[in-house]
Symmetry: C2
Subunit: 351 residues, 2 copies
């Protein structure tokens, strides 16, 4: 039998390390969790409960971003207390980014810090939400405005679970993957995506695992250089995100995160091109790759939503000392942080 | 004019440092806050609002342990959001431990970590609550069961504010000070307390400052050796606390923290003496010092409250792998962590 394999060991702030494992079957994944021997609480939603082992003590939350709030975290903490969990107990999140962010947030504040193990079940979560220790909930209309930095001990990835992921969710994960392709200082992921479009879109399991590894490699490179997002390096991972978060807020969350990021990344390329920061050729080629993966880059915000869009921009947590900086690209693997005035933003999202 | 003086610079986990300043006047303290230049939100309660500068944006909470809950933290976060605070903004807590723990908790989870500055206004908070980065709220009937480790950037101590502290609160702070006297590897604080009983009880301002410094020195020694309470060293600061927290819970918070700690410390000395861990002479002398400072060590728990007392013990966050360890003293400055069975606990608190 093939065994679960450690594919990355990511050094994070204060000497913490997150180990990333690739698993070959659900049974094996369950076995490795049971082998940890600690008391555990599983956190899942009504879609991901089926991935839990029979023996799991559990909290099942309703699915969806609108439940990413204190009420849900309160349910997790309350169940942890009822189950008698201690500081050395483990919160196991099984789900997409919403569940993982909340499970890890609850772990981070329970008794001032228990342990977190994450089992991402969406492509987006596999390549984005599980590494780097960002936990949190939405608050006061802003995404992830309340949370902590709290790296999971380990992340267990089972690419097979992607087989049953709804098509729209799968393609949304691809939004982050494509974004990572531009941020990488090598062109390996970029070329991989350009060369394997059909197989990736068809979820061929061998290319999926490769794609996840290459994509994680990019994220890991950025977060290890700036684990707490204090130096501005890691902010580059927010390519497309300031546009995206504001769009999601203005549209009341009807847009998925990955679609938003793909759209926001294309917007960043348009602004970069207009401002002479991104070479025209590279910007056009990049936008084409985004479109090749099925993302609509031609969408423009209806004018009447622009005020709420700007309101969400100004609430964005990347705001420092009054100005909001956007990630633009000077070229392959060369992000820059640039403050944009309202006119530049208006041009990028309306026209 | 005398200037605010830095009296300690405490190295904490991950390279963080908390600077402790001693201030000479409220005006000077306000001036130094204003000089920070960042956007700020002050958090106080109805007793401590009078210490705020006129210009302070503020959240005023009702005072008391029963308001140490999510609802209060929610009010702080919500005010922070309305005021447009960013990640580099400062949450300034002005009050006793309850306010400081909540202000720092809110700072720690706002945008995954803003900045915290603490102005303790009680003796207990000056010597106990402000250093080492423990933040939190009560949860599900347990004290501080939800929180984070999040060191404040700076702690501003103005001994003069103790002049107007209610007598009962002042004597409660003395409970922690006396506890620190036993934990110190030197006898300086112990001898200081033995020699200056009248002046300390009379709040002579020169001895108060010296007492606060000596007491902080002890705490700083323990926390710098174990900033995250992972090695068991820092757990020694919990001398008297497992007894005390359980007593406070069983009595529904009608006992003050300092009184509980003094009582719990005496209980730890009785258990230590009974088990042959603490020399009889030292235990008797220690209990006498506690009594000299006006604490009732003869109190015994009514038998009918013992079940809820044990329930609170078992919920105690220091529980690891099923057993609750108590801090006992082998001698001056020599704490040991010992698991106690129910009979030993019963004997210590009932008879």
């Amino acid at each position: 039998m093939k065994r679960m394999e450690r594919i990355f060991s990511v050094p994070l702030k204060g000497g913490a390390v997150t180990d990333v494992y690739s698993a070959f079957s659900l049974a094996e994944l369950h076995e490795s969790l049971r082998a940890m021997g600690s008391s555990m609480l599983f956190v899942a939603d009504d879609n991901t409960e089926r991935f839990l082992p029979d023996w799991a003590e559990r909290v099942i939350l309703p699915h969806g971003e609108r439940w990413k709030n204190w009420e849900s975290v309160d349910r997790i903490l309350s169940a942890a207390l009822s189950s008698g969990l201690a500081r050395d107990s483990v919160f196991v999140g099984v789900g997409g980014g919403v569940i993982l962010d909340m499970a890890a947030f609850a772990a981070s504040i329970y008794m001032r810090g228990a342990r977190a193990v994450l089992v991402p079940t969406t492509l987006l979560a596999m390549v984005d939400a599980t590494l780097g220790g960002k936990t949190g909930i939405d608050y006061g209309g802003g995404k992830n405005l309340v949370g902590t930095f709290f790296p999971a001990e380990s992340v267990l990835i089972l690419p097979d679970v992607l087989e049953t992921l709804p098509e729209r969710e799968y393609r949304c994960g691809l939004g982050e993957v494509v974004k990572h392709a531009f941020l990488s200082s090598s062109r390996r992921l970029y070329d991989f995506l350009a060369d394997n479009r059909e197989r990736v879109l068809g979820r061929d399991s061998s290319v999926m695992e490769e794609m996840i590894r290459l994509s994680l490699e990019v994220k890991i490179d950025y977060i290890t250089r700036d684990p707490e997002e204090r130096k501005g390096i890691r902010s580059a991972l927010n390519l497309g995100h300031t546009f995206s978060h504001a769009l999601e807020a203005a549209e009341d969350f009807s847009i998925s995160h990955g679609e938003g990021v793909a759209w926001g990344t294309a917007a960043a390329f348009r602004v970069g091109r207009d401002k002479g920061i991104t070479a025209s050729d590279y910007a056009d080629e990049a936008i084409r790759l985004i479109e090749d993966y099925g993302f609509d880059t031609s969408f423009r915000l209806p004018g009447n939503l622009f005020p709420s869009f700007m309101d969400a921009v100004s609430k964005d947590k990347k705001k420092k000392g009054g100005s909001v900086k956007f990630v633009l690209m000077e070229g392959q693997g060369k992000p820059v942080l640039i403050p944009l005035d309202e006119d530049a933003v208006r041009k990028a999202v309306l026209s």
